[in-house]
Chain length 98, copies 4
Amino acid sequence: LKLFKSRIYTAILLLGCVLVIGVFGYRFMSGYSWVDSLYMTVITITTVGFGEVQPLDEYSKVFTVFLILASVVIVGFAISVITEYILSKNNLEELKQK
Amino acid sequence: LKLFKSRIYTAILLLGCVLVIGVFGYRFMSGYSWVDSLYMTVITITTVGFGEVQPLDEYSKVFTVFLILASVVIVGFAISVITEYILSKNNLEELKQK
Amino acid sequence: LKLFKSRIYTAILLLGCVLVIGVFGYRFMSGYSWVDSLYMTVITITTVGFGEVQPLDEYSKVFTVFLILASVVIVGFAISVITEYILSKNNLEELKQK
Amino acid sequence: LKLFKSRIYTAILLLGCVLVIGVFGYRFMSGYSWVDSLYMTVITITTVGFGEVQPLDEYSKVFTVFLILASVVIVGFAISVITEYILSKNNLEELKQK
Ligand SMILES: [K+]
Ligand SMILES: [K+]
């Protein structure tokens, strides 16, 4: 159980890193304001994707591609860990019932 | 089983709250019409994200960020509860087969 | 097993209905071309959401809200059925191993 | 376990194929630059969907519809395989505990 919790914390920490990298990336690479950088990062990571706040240059597009891929991999990892956690909790309850 | 159902109802109720908060937020904060507010809230919560119906000011963007994060957390909670429900129903059937 | 398959077929059939309703809705309600209607329906149901092909009037927005909600409910139902199917298949294999 | 790993590799390989087909499709069918083609393909497959980089003609829209449907089916297959993998790993641990 401790193992799962530390892995869930790892996933949350990684997502936090991606959020911070995203905000700083859009702030200094694409010249967005702080609010726009946060807004752009959140709509990118959560795949809401309303649209680019301001048009992106080539470097910002490549940056966005890596941001999306990183968040997809981390969210996938987080879902796997949570699924395994629910399953193992379920098994423990099952064993207790016997 | 009753525990799961009450938690699923909690998740649905919370989603309903987010929907209502979203509609009122866009109606009075961003000056959208009622239909546009509903449309904007639904495309935000479901991550369809066609694009902002009308450009958002800074406050509305921060509001949108919180709306997205709230709905992501609630949807994640709902999926967890439903997964646990399916698993425990599955275990009961398994026990009956023995 | 037959029960699961019939429910998966129900989910696929319902998704097909939503697709057809979406295409006809955008074709005759919003005046889109056939290709644009298909394109709009697919990016709506899959939550890709590039943006409205042409601006939508109030009725088309309400129609889109219902289309999104219907597809979210049906996709959720489909995922539940598939999860239950994988779980029960898994249980059968487990029982065989004993 | 080997069976699962080969199926996960199949899913990753198929996703890679869709990525390559997408990039070449947007490059030569819609006349996008290489960076724009990669950007467009990634925001399409991950359903971020910021919006079309440049307006698409009818053929490119039909191409996009197939790209979206292919990636949805493959991602669905990948999630199924990963779920089955986690479940069978879980069962093995359960058997060991007995
Ligand atoms: K969009
Ligand atoms: K989207």
